[in-house]
Structures are given as C-alpha cells and as structure tokens.
C-alpha cells in the first residue's frame, strides 16, 4: 500500500471497503421501520407551505431580473437630454415672467 499523497483526490477503495465492513450497521429494515413509525408522530409542513417557501426565492429572483431588465432597456432607449450651459441658463427668459414683474413692482412700491 502506497503512502497517501496529501492531495490525493481518489477514494482509497481498500481502506474504504475495510471501513465499510467495520462500520456496517447491519440490516436496514428494522431501522427504517423504526424511523417511519416515529415519523408518523412528527408534524410536518403542508404542501402549500413547502411550495410557497421554495417558490419565494424564485419569485424574488424573477422580480430582480425584471427590474434590472427594465432599467437597462429604459436606459438604452431614452435619448440623452442635452444639458444647458451656464450661459444659456442665465440668458434664457424667465419661465414665469409675470411673477417676476409682480415681485419687482412690489419691491419698487415699497
């Protein structure tokens, strides 16, 4: 038998067989019957609860994918808006000239 290598990734069949025999638990039938008898006393979750729990992760993933896709599509299709320069902003006429005049009139009046 060779000295084992530190990173030997293959099972040692000789050692495995010997250990299997050494740890052999014997007939499984009585054990299985005992476990099943006890299992009937154990309350378990309903079908709905189990499926809902397993589906929850899937729904969350689907929502995330949909949001990400929507964001990417929206970003790709939206035309980039031209940003006004500082000069344009200063020289542009006021959006509500009437309000400016009212304010000026009240200041002058005071």
């Amino acid at each position: 038998m060779k000295e084992p290598m530190p990173f030997d990734h293959r099972p040692d069949t000789a050692l495995g067989d010997a250990l299997r025999r050494a740890l052999d638990p014997g007939d499984a039938a009585p054990f299985v019957a005992r476990v099943l008898a006890r299992a009937s006393e154990v309350r378990v979750a309903s079908w709905d609860a189990v499926l809902a729990r397993w589906a929850r992760a899937g729904v969350a993933a689907a929502v995330f994918v949909a949001l990400a896709a929507g964001y990417l599509v929206g970003r790709a299709t939206a035309a980039p808006a031209a940003r006004p320069s500082v000069y344009d902003a200063l020289m542009a006429p006021p959006a509500h000239p009437g309000e400016v005049e009212i304010v000026l009139a009240s200041v002058i009046g005071n």
Binding site: D12, L15, R21, L23, F31, R34, A45, S46, W47, V50
Partner: protein, 173 residues
C-alpha cells in the same frame, strides 16, 4: 422531496431507505456504539423531516442530510454519560495472535473501529465520507462546515493512521 416534506409517508420512506446506510455509518464513526449511532441517525432523520421545508432543492440532498446526522451524533456524544475512552488494545495494536479465518474480518473491524475512535471526530467523519461513501472534498466541507483544504488535511491524516494499521494487518497475514 416536496412530497416527503408534505407528509407523504411513502416518499419519506424512500428517502430513509436510500440514506439509512450512510447515515448510520457516519453516526457510528462519531459515536462508536452501534445502538447510540442508530438513535442518533434516527433523530437526524426525523429532524431532517421537520426541516425539509428549509432544504434548498438546488443543492445536493446528501450533504445537507449528513450535516444534520453529524451534528446529531456529536450532540448525543456530548450528552451521553462520559465514558472513559478505551485505549487501543495493545494486543490488537501490535497485531497479537492471528485469529482464525472465521474471526479475521471481525477482528480487523474491531481494530479499525478502535483506531477510528482514537482519531479526532472531524477526522473520522471526513475519512468515512471520503473513502467509504465517496463524497467529494467540497461536499464534505459542506457537511462539516470547514474549508475544503482542511478536509483534505483531515482525510490525509486519518488515512495515514488507518493505512498503517491495514499494512500491519496484511504483513501479519
């Protein structure tokens, strides 16, 4: 799995039958005593049944179950009355007189079990899962909750000890 979790007795029976052997061997590797091992394996199976709704079906079932088995066996070992660790019988360790063929396998088994009992618990489970059950280092890492590199190291050290015992046995033969 879903059917078992929802209380389908037959489906759970299939799971128990499929994993009874490995669960009992792993528990026995931890506990030594076969009766204690079966109790721990049974507790683990029932615990797994209750927790089935927490199982992630995208992951392999075996390592998930064996983690529960390993933990159940460890808990039982801690809880049970502290027994003195019996050292390896010097006669067995040194080989001793060769038994007749009829008793040969039993004696080898006894020597292996005693040698296993002297290994640290994690090392025992690692070598049994790797060499007996054929699980990968990654799967054993998931079972034991340790890094994969540590699993390799544990398997290496366990093999060195157990292989030496087997070599002595063969040389005596």
């Amino acid at each position: 799995m879903t059917r078992a979790a929802a209380g389908d007795r037959a489906a759970f029976g299939v799971l128990v039958e499929r994993y009874a052997g490995v669960a009992r061997r792993v528990a026995r590797a931890v506990l030594g005593n076969p009766e204690d091992a079966d109790d721990a394996a049974q507790d683990a199976m029932l615990s797994a049944l209750v927790k089935l709704d927490q199982y992630d079906p995208r992951r392999p079932f075996g390592p998930w179950l064996l983690r529960i088995v390993s933990n159940a066996a460890t808990d039982r070992r801690r809880r049970r009355t502290v027994r003195r660790v019996e050292p390896l019988d010097p006669g067995l360790a040194a080989g001793g007189p060769r038994p007749d063929t009829a008793a040969e396998q039993r004696a080898l088994g006894e020597r292996l079990r005693q040698a296993l009992a002297e290994l640290p618990e994690r090392r025992r489970v690692a070598v049994v899962l790797f060499d007996v059950e054929g699980y990968s280092h990654a799967e054993i890492a998931a079972v034991l909750g340790i890094p994969e590199g540590t699993v390799r190291s544990e398997v290496f050290h366990a093999r060195r000890r157990l292989r030496a015992l087997l070599v002595d046995w063969k040389e005596e033969a």
